[in-house]
Symmetry: C2
Subunit: 347 residues, 2 copies
């Protein structure tokens, strides 16, 4: 039990019969030390059960090897994938990423950011919680700490952003629906406090306009970005006088909800009502029918964000270019009426 006073390099030095400086050198893998001395020291390290105190070291070095990843919702596989993409990159760069979850709570986010800064991280990658104000990052900016946003952008902030091309994704999806012959379209889910929402909705609107769908034949229903939200959106839409025949959903979760609600009403998703999702999470391909969705490559964006961060740290700057990731529409079986267009991977 009695956690003994932990060993320091001085204990190692005594054990090995050298000076603390020598131990320090060995710890850093310096070539200045005679191999046999290094060996002796390493043995002593093992013997005394030494664990390196990075806090003490950083006091002198002022250059830590940890970066913080602040994620708005870890239980969403979409963001989890992104986080894992980042991890891959950091790991091979010898950097340890610590992940913190904010659960879409700006207050929690503030705490987490504070904590990470106090811990002396070398940089921060943040997927901001809903409702974040740009003031939340003022301290970080004035501290000159490298920071990048992923997936979400804040209204008027100069912090670099790595995000998918939401506008184009929505455009493609809308065009697909129009191409299938649909003339009354809906946009389901999401709420206007998110910039992403405006980007996607903007793509939808512009596509409609460009393809000759009059605005009065489009319907926009805000709602939770979850299955439940999707169910609600569909109910609302079908209760209207001249209901839409197809919907672009803010994300896949909403799309799943819409499909469930359709089934519940005895309607067949795809055949009776076309549905397109956004994000293309893994489950999309496993649904019945398989969901047509806009793929954004979250893991790839995560990797990209990590690379940008590494470069910022390396070049000691807090500035970087935005990066808008390519998207592509993955056509499956959820947009009738033409079944022939479905991909072969239907199961």
């Amino acid at each position: 039990m009695a956690s003994r006073p932990k060993a320091t390099i001085l204990d190692i030095a005594r054990e090995a019969g050298v000076s603390k400086s020598t131990v320090s050198l060995v710890l850093q893998g310096s070539g200045l030390i005679r191999p046999e001395t290094a060996l002796k020291v390493r043995k002593a390290i093992e013997d005394v059960g030494y664990v390196y105190n990075r806090g003490a070291a950083n006091l002198r070095k002022a250059h830590s090897n940890v970066i913080g990843m602040v994620i708005n919702d870890l239980t969403n596989p979409f963001f989890a994938e992104m986080a894992v993409g980042m991890e891959r990159v950091f790991q091979s760069a010898g950097i340890v990423p610590f992940i913190a979850n904010t659960a879409e709570n700006p207050v929690r986010q503030e705490e987490v950011l504070k904590s990470l800064m106090e811990q002396g991280v070398a940089g921060l990658i943040v997927s901001p919680a809903r409702g974040t104000t740009s003031g939340a990052f003022r301290r970080i900016e004035t501290a000159g700490l490298p920071i990048v946003f992923t997936m979400r952008r804040l209204p008027e902030s100069r912090i670099p952003v790595i995000a998918p091309d939401n506008h184009r994704g929505a455009w493609l999806a809308t065009a697909h629906l129009v191409g299938k012959g649909h003339r009354r379209l809906a946009f389901f889910g999401g709420s206007s406090d998110l910039v992403v929402y405006h980007e996607r909705l903007g793509g939808f609107r512009e596509a409609c306009e460009a393809l000759g769908i009059p605005k009065r034949d489009t319907l926009v229903v805000e709602g939770e970005t979850s299955r439940k939200g999707g169910i609600a959106c569909l109910e609302t839409a079908l209760a209207m006088a001249d209901p839409p025949t197809a919907a672009l959903c803010f994300n896949d979760a909403v799309a799943f909800g819409v499909m469930l609600a359709l089934r519940k009403r005895g309607l067949e998703p795809g055949a009776d009502f076309a549905v397109v999702g956004f994000d293309d999470v893994i489950e999309a391909q496993h649904y019945m029918p398989a969901l047509t969705s806009v793929a954004v490559d979250s893991a790839g964006l995560g990797e990209r964000a990590a690379h940008v961060m590494l470069k910022m740290i390396q070049s000691r700057t807090t500035r970087a270019e935005d990066h808008i990731g390519a998207v592509n529409l993955v056509v499956r079986d959820s947009c009738g009426p033409d079944r022939r267009e479905g991909m072969g991977d239907a199961a």
Copy 2:
């Protein structure tokens, strides 16, 4: 950009015209300071853009406020839920949990653990990666650092474990299948290098024996714990001479795979072949048909683990009781009665 030499309490002291000790006291919210002095100091803190250096503080205090959560697979919603449950508890205790993902890689796990220790965490909650040897935790134990395992247990380790009652869960599920009239049962997925596997398989076996299913009428197919693994298991099983009519799956992912594979063969999950999952992830209720599964309350187990950890830290011990969480079978639509005729049209 030139990140200015960061402010320290000395800068604050100068700014506010007090001593560094006074600043330190204010920082710790000591009541010994005259309110107006405290106010002056707080203003200075704001002015110089100070950020607390926890590393330096820990050098003296030797009692950090961060604990590490090491998770084997963050992209699995099951584990993500658990992590979030822990977070909730720690947050309200003023402790900051840092999450690290090991991606089921013992080498990565070792690195992550090392890093966390160097960072000076107050404790560790670990969901061990597959293939972890108990030697990986020797250093942590000798350091006297509180540690608990969640979900998975290591063969011969004295580290406390918080896990669901796998044995009983499997028992319940098996009994349910037998109750539906099935007489040839399979256990799908998982591999024997996981203790959990033996626990669940053990429950299955004992239930079969207790309920009069002879061992020769049971089939065990190891496999990846993923959809792909489930697909493979089903293929293997149906290729046998006298195939089973029902399966208990190692986890829900495997079950989903089994259901997909059934569909691909023109068989209806539930009606033609009964499937039970394990873990009861959120998607289980949204599948078609909805999956009958053993619910383990991952978030609840996470919370429990966090509480145990808090108590260990508080009482300065590295010992704690195991905690086996209750499970219950959630019956949905994936287990019809045995109607073997349906199997005939397979292939």
